[in-house]
């Protein structure tokens, strides 16, 4: 019986992993780095940490996407701009360039990183900035202005050339393209270079076989980039803390839901697609780097990977598309071990220096 099961498992695994056999549903190693414009990356790296992109000059991208935390923030629900509290978990940014949809509700197409950066910088919930003020503030910070000239000042540049806030978003997007997950034990195993430890290897078989994780978690990021409803319980803070309720209802109002005051729970991808079947569904997150980016799920409701595996094993919550898996304690451990094998130590990220405003000088210099 046991050898038979194992054989079945191996066959399934082979089906899911073998490059040619199973089409979409493959686990894949990370692709090579993206080609980037080095001057724009350098400007974008500075701007990523620059609080003066935000309206009141207090919040940078790195305020909620902390390099030491896999570019997530370690909170169940993210904080957002001053005077607001967010209703979702801040996702990590490593290899964000590979996502096919961006944001938990998939409201931005994969690849449109500059579009997401624009929303983050301008939206009242995140940085509440203004593009033309961003441009004028950069102009007032001589070292940043010099970086900007190098990145965008090429065409007829010079000191008088146009600096547009949009270029700040492009530069940050270019920087984001350089943030990749480090190679993991799983990548080496997928290329046949080194075997995983036995428990993780067992987890990988379960992942691709009995547990069926691979149905949604495949490809280089271990995500299908599609919305699914798992019935993750609402985070109680959203109803309990009015600033979070405000953010959620305001999001629903902004997205044009017909009864925004009546939508008291996060409707997920439905707010974007208006497809009733997608109510309460969220885009499958990547599984790489999970060791650094807890707590988990769109609302940070699950604190540990053990809880995440238990939750999936139970078949999710009310309304879930998942089915119960009947996993043993050992199998759950194995799955956690495999998930952890998808994380590598984080590469250190050097924060750029903080520059003061300079005086640009008036017309009567």
């Amino acid at each position: 019986m046991k050898p038979l099961l194992r054989a079945l498992g191996v066959a399934l695994l082979a089906g899911f992993i073998a490059p040619a056999a199973a089409g979409d549903m493959r686990l894949q190693p990370l692709p090579p780095p993206a080609p980037v414009n080095a001057a724009q990356v350098e400007l974008g790296r500075h701007l990523f940490f620059e609080t003066r992109l935000s309206g009141d000059g207090s919040r940078s991208c790195a305020s909620c996407h902390v390099p030491d935390k896999g570019f997530a923030d370690g909170q169940p629900l993210s904080r957002g701009y001053n005077g607001t509290e967010h209703f979702r978990n801040a996702p990590g940014l490593l290899s964000v360039r590979l996502k096919s949809r961006l944001m938990w509700d998939g409201r931005h197409a994969g690849g449109d990183l500059a579009g997401v950066v624009r929303e983050m910088v301008l939206d009242a919930q995140f940085m509440n900035g203004e593009a033309r003020i961003v441009a004028e503030r950069i102009r007032q910070i001589p070292p940043l202005f010099a970086l900007w000239l190098r990145a965008f000042g090429g065409q007829g540049g010079g000191e008088k050339s146009e600096l547009r806030g949009e270029q700040a978003f492009l530069a940050i997007a270019e920087y984001l393209k350089t943030l990749d997950f480090a190679e993991t034990a799983v990548d080496r195993a997928l290329r046949g270079e080194a075997a995983l430890p036995p428990l993780a290897e067992e987890g990988q078989r379960l992942f691709a076989g009995k547990a069926g994780c691979v149905q949604c978690h495949h490809g280089p990021l271990f995500s299908d980039g599609k919305p699914h409803r798992l019935g993750v319980p609402e985070h109680p803070a959203i109803a309990r803390e009015p600033l979070r309720t405000i953010s959620l209802l305001r999001h629903h109002a902004e997205r044009g839901l017909p009864q925004p005051m009546a939508e008291r729970s996060d409707v997920g991808a439905y707010a974007v697609s208006k497809n009733p079947a997608e109510r309460g569904s969220f885009i499958t997150p990547p599984l790489r780097g999970l060791a650094h980016t807890g707590p988990y799920m769109h609302n940070g409701r699950l604190a540990s990977l053990e809880e995440v595996v238990d939750f999936h094993g139970r078949g999710g919550g009310p309304g879930s598309v998942l089915r119960p898996l009947d996993l043993s304690a050992r199998e759950r451990q194995a799955l956690v071990a495999f998930l952890l094998a998808l994380s590598a130590p984080l590469a250190p990220v050097a924060e750029p220096p903080a520059y003061d405003y300079g005086s640009v000088g008036g017309g009567r210099r």
């Binding site: 003066r52 701009y81 005077g83 939206d123 009242a124 004028e136 009015p242 405000i246 005086s359």
Partner: protein, 386 residues
Amino acid sequence: MKRAALLLLAAIALIAGVWAAFAPRPGHPPLASLPAVPVPAGNPMSEDKLRLGRMLFFDPRLSGDASTSCASCHVPQLGWTHNDALAPGYPGHRLWRNNPTVLNAAHYTRLMWDGTLDSLEVQARSAMQAPVEGNGKATMVEMRLRLVPEYVALFRQAFGTEWPQLDHAWQAIAAFERTLVSDPQQVPFDRHLAGDTAALSEAARRGLALFEGKAGCIQCHHGALATDEGFHALGVPRQPLYDSHPLVQIAVRWQNVQRDVPQAVYRGLEEDLGRYYRTREPADIGKFRTPTLRELKYTAPYMHNGAIATLRDVVDFFDAGGGSAPNKSPLLKPLGLSDGEKSDLVAFLESLSMERPLIVEAPVLPPTLPLDGGGEQCEPPVKGRT
């Protein structure tokens, strides 16, 4: 003979022309007491609206990061304006102009130094949403109001809506501002006009005579608000912060961009072009709307850029015939006032202000609460930043 007559005629014509250009225009209305506050048909006054408007005026939750209320820059204790030449505005910013007082703003037919807005309702919205002032994005601020149960009830009473709507917030604030007007019983000059012969000091009376006569102030400062609401270039000295303060420099450039002035025009200029922004007439560059002279006692510093600190300095500036500017008003010329005359003018100007400032205490702001009761109360902001 004929030639001499022609010369004489020409001289007469020239003198008449100069007279026409420089003499006080007889057509202007006299100084007067303020009439009843005009109330637009679309926004009638009501008790509920005023109560609501007074709270909203002081409520920083109308701003992006819940830090800045109308009262942060229009501080009741500072003459409903700010004593900084250029007020701080929203955190991370500095304003580019001296912010005008709310006092008697209800009587203006157009608002702002360049006359770009024409109602208090629009001004309230514009200020609370401008990135450098309130930076409050509409959908966020509106939803904040909806989680303040006391506001939900007040908006319902005042406007009959199920949930607060942001446009009504601006109406309520405007209604409140229509109550912030000079009380003629407290303004010496208004009592003087009403026949109280002891209302003005001797100095103020002499100042009034100079105002209407030798100093010629009346040419632009007339009517009940003591302003023609016209636009004039006086050559006010450049605000030094324009050349030294990074946030001011950012603000000046941004305001120009914001008004769609081509970068080629304002880069390297970095000035406030005034009325030009509205008309795009080069002849309007550097012109600003004549401000009211009422309540001046409480609204220092002066001029569109706050570059003049005291009333005495203002009088000195006009006595010198103003400064230099490309489109400078021909009405300004050196006046040759004596020290005593200047003091008399200041005494008169002060008589246009109430003897005690009009102050409204900040109300206790109602808390933000969870929608269906229960849960945590969110600390109400105690007070606007001042």
